[in-house]
Symmetry: D3
Subunit: 84 residues, 6 copies
């Protein structure tokens, strides 16, 4: 199955931490470690363990961007009561 | 400001497509192109354009994992009416 | 590829509306029509069109629950300034 | 209250698993079991238990689509370093 | 209907921008303006317009936190290739 | 760093509940308490504790709206099998 999620990157599982309901899996892709919080039951169902090759999948609407603050740029976009 | 989102990866903007409300920004990080769908007003507010260095930010709860299907593994986890 | 998202339901595409950046796809599964807002480029990449059989995929952390309000239950959980 | 989330489907709770912070609730709607990961405090606040009738609520921007891979379609959309 | 989403705050609509698929609605709650990107069809279905009283609804798993960077704190948590 | 997330509101942490994988942090902003479910490791990494000043950050695509049901409005938008 091919899925609509725009971001699909291969990597290798480096850690699996299981809680009662949620689990945290860390995946090394080149240049970064991606942390994923999924249900513990999905970890069991897929049999995910350290050393496995997996694909990290992220829908584009979940991806934010950050930029370095450049002097003088923020003045006009600020509103009282909001930190932007 | 340091933020709780676990996944923060530096890259460079390679395309910006503006719609009336939403915008799509593509960011090259090493080994992958990450697509981000954010509001067009955030693109304007941050002044994001091709060539900019940005940080891609993704909350861990938004990251899914995919594994290659291995023969014989899925039999016991299937349920009628669900594709898993 | 088998993916961690807990909810995967087969259905058939009944409408596709394309915007400049985003697209809305409606999928009939038995007993409900599921609306999906994905990027227009994913619709093009996957070639999604009316009549296609697709799988609707939803991560468990994105699913909320609603219950009918029963008389007398809410009194003790209310806080000033919050509508619950 | 009527809410903007496009997808609202009635079902019945079939299991509730409580963790320290998160809880997993499974809801049978016709033709599928939907898994929901919400905070344990919301389960307590709403008094959700097995057998309850609930409404599963999902925002359209959280819904992905998957299609069966058809021979020959993927060749032109692949990029090096990305699994699509 | 009472819903599991932890965060529900009353406010008043101050702007509605419609795109082909998505819409952006700004809601003034006390001390902040909250921006919401929902489908244009939901705006039409609910008849949302400037001046309406609405409830902003946000699932707890979608809320991130940011803290001011304090000198010396970040040194031990940095990893090569990740901006944290 | 300035980030694309449209909603950024300052507040003060009033409670922190730690689970094995996830944590729940409550933040008082004026007029509301915002609940955030983030990984326990992010709470540790940022050193978040009761009394801290933090910024609550929410992407606009994660914000839903609710409106009071007005008599007679819903009749024409209902579909069989869907609760809207």
């Amino acid at each position: 199955m091919e899925i609509s999620a725009r971001n699909q990157i291969r990597g290798r599982v480096t850690s699996v931490s299981l809680g009662a309901v949620m689990a945290e899996v860390e995946v090394d892709v080149s240049a970064a470690t991606i942390a994923s919080a999924i249900t513990a039951s999905s970890v069991a169902r897929l049999g995910i363990k350290v050393g496995d090759e997996v694909t990290v999948i992220i829908k584009a609407t979940e991806v934010m961007l950050g930029v370095k603050i450049r002097r003088g740029r923020r003045a006009s976009t600020r509103r009282p009561g909001l930190t932007r």
